[in-house]
């Protein structure tokens, strides 16, 4: 393993463990609109989106394992859900490589809704009496909204943690590349590319 990858791994592990403790000890003290914002699924999704399915699944398993351990809940429930969530976000990056500015909030919202609903489904299948429908729906909706709102800062945090190992895979660089360069030779160039092209042509003429 390269020193950059080791550094990224250590930083990401610290961020995952720190976020879980921060979530359970600090964030749970606040319940805006009766729902606790959940950072963990958003962080796991962002790690998957940044570093791929293996990293996403591993981060999800670690975070879930810690949540179940600290809250003395049924072991395996959160780790199962977050492993699948992290893997799915990673697969999305590997297959589609989304670079649209709305990607992060959308993935954050999806992660929040997925975790709230997935947790409900697993607990219900384990035989726990379900909360009433309306509070459950309310919680799911707000989890999605919080996920969308938290996506930007959590993405920054995950990117900072993984920076040494990202290299050319950094989505910020990929996004800029996607805006500046056409993906196909048949594609119409953007205004930026047209002016850049004009500048290059003018420079060549002057040289002649």
């Amino acid at each position: 393993m390269t020193p950059e990858a080791t550094s990224a791994l250590l930083r990401t592990s610290a961020v995952v463990v720190g976020t879980v403790i921060f979530q359970l000890a600090v964030v749970t003290q606040f319940r805006p609109f009766g729902v606790v914002p959940d950072l963990t699924p958003v962080l796991v999704a962002m790690i998957g989106l940044l570093a791929g399915s293996t990293a996403g699944a591993a981060a999800g398993f670690t975070a879930g394992f810690m949540i179940d351990l600290i809250l003395l809940q049924t072991m395996g429930v959160s780790s199962l859900l977050l492993t699948i969530g992290g893997y799915a976000a990673g697969r999305l990056r590997e297959l589609r490589d989304p670079v649209h500015p709305v990607t992060n909030p959308a993935i954050g919202a999806a992660a929040g809704v997925y975790f709230a609903l997935g947790f409900a489904v697993v607990q219900f299948s384990l035989g726990l009496p379900a909360p009433r429908l309306w509070p459950l729906l309310w919680q799911t909706l707000w989890s999605g909204a919080y996920g969308a709102l938290l996506a930007a800062p959590v993405f920054r945090l995950a990117r900072w943690a993984m920076m040494p190992g990202l290299g050319r895979g950094d989505p910020m660089i990929r996004r800029r590349r996607a805006v500046l360069a056409p993906t196909s030779v048949l594609e119409k160039p953007t205004i930026n590319q047209r002016s850049r092209g004009r500048r290059i042509t003018n420079r060549r003429r002057r040289h002649r």
């Binding site: 403790i21 921060f22 979530q23 359970l24 000890a25 600090v26 964030v27 749970t28 003290q29 606040f30 319940r31 009766g34 606790v36 959940d38 791929g52 399915s53 293996t54 699944a57 591993a58 999800g60 398993f61 879930g64 394992f65 179940d68 351990l69 600290i70 809250l71 003395l72 809940q73 049924t74 072991m75 395996g76 429930v77 780790s79 199962l80 492993t83 699948i84 893997y87 590997e94 709230a116 947790f119 409900a120 607990q123 384990l126 726990l128 009496p129 379900a130 909360p131 009433r132 509070p135 459950l136 919680q139």
Partner: protein, 291 residues
Amino acid sequence: MPNRKQIRRRRFTALGLIVVSIALLTAYFNEAASGALHSIQRGAMEVLSPLQDLASGAIKPARDLVNWVGDSFDAKSENKKLKRQLTDARIQAARLQQADSENKKLRALVGFNESDRFPGGRSPVVARVIVRSPTDWFARVTIDKGSSAGVRVNQPVIADGALAGKVTSVSGHAAQVTLLTDSSSGVGAVVSGKNILGIVQTGSGGEVGAEDLQLSYIRQRGTIRVGNMVVTSGTVSDPALVKSLFPAGIPIGSVSKVDLEERQLYGRVHLTPFADMRDLRIVEVLTRGKQ
């Protein structure tokens, strides 16, 4: 582009982690409370509780500020309600004072032993809430006092002078409290002054901060009125039967609704808990002193 080997390795890793999660889930579900996984959880609680305590304490000013803003909004409406309650309480206090002096005289006459009454024989240990369950599926909190402070499993936990829950897991310096609003909770209770027994359970299947509790399995629902106080009975079902984990006479809540439509074999009425489950910060564990 990743090659076939890389793709296979990725799939294998994810699948392996999912299998481990399912294996953990199955093992934990079939395991007794003294099992290995439960012990690991208690160990982790012991190791991580100082960190959580530190993190929870560090945000106290911010939390106080947020709560102050929230409390200011609620203060006006609450003021009216409290004034009305104060008037009722004054009348009740005058009556109780008289009854209390009579009671003392009668107890002295018959030599009644008070050891089972709250807080007699119990020494309350004050603890701070350091972790809360973030989902609506569990109403559990972790407190910063454990077995080193005399906290033991099944001891009652009091907040705002009323029953909030019981201790369900203990490590050296932390303990987990399962609140009355958790789906697994149930407390033998009696409607104060009416001798109507029942069991207090959550009205919503374990919703954190739920305002609704239910007094179930009661036989004489007709005589219960809105506003009646419900306290712990000190017994499981009948005074002549098994003793409850909770000493008698701890306030739980007041009757908020008597639903006559709920026609069942046993009656059921709705309660509003006195303890603010939504905003538990400081609690008292009724211990039997350091053992």
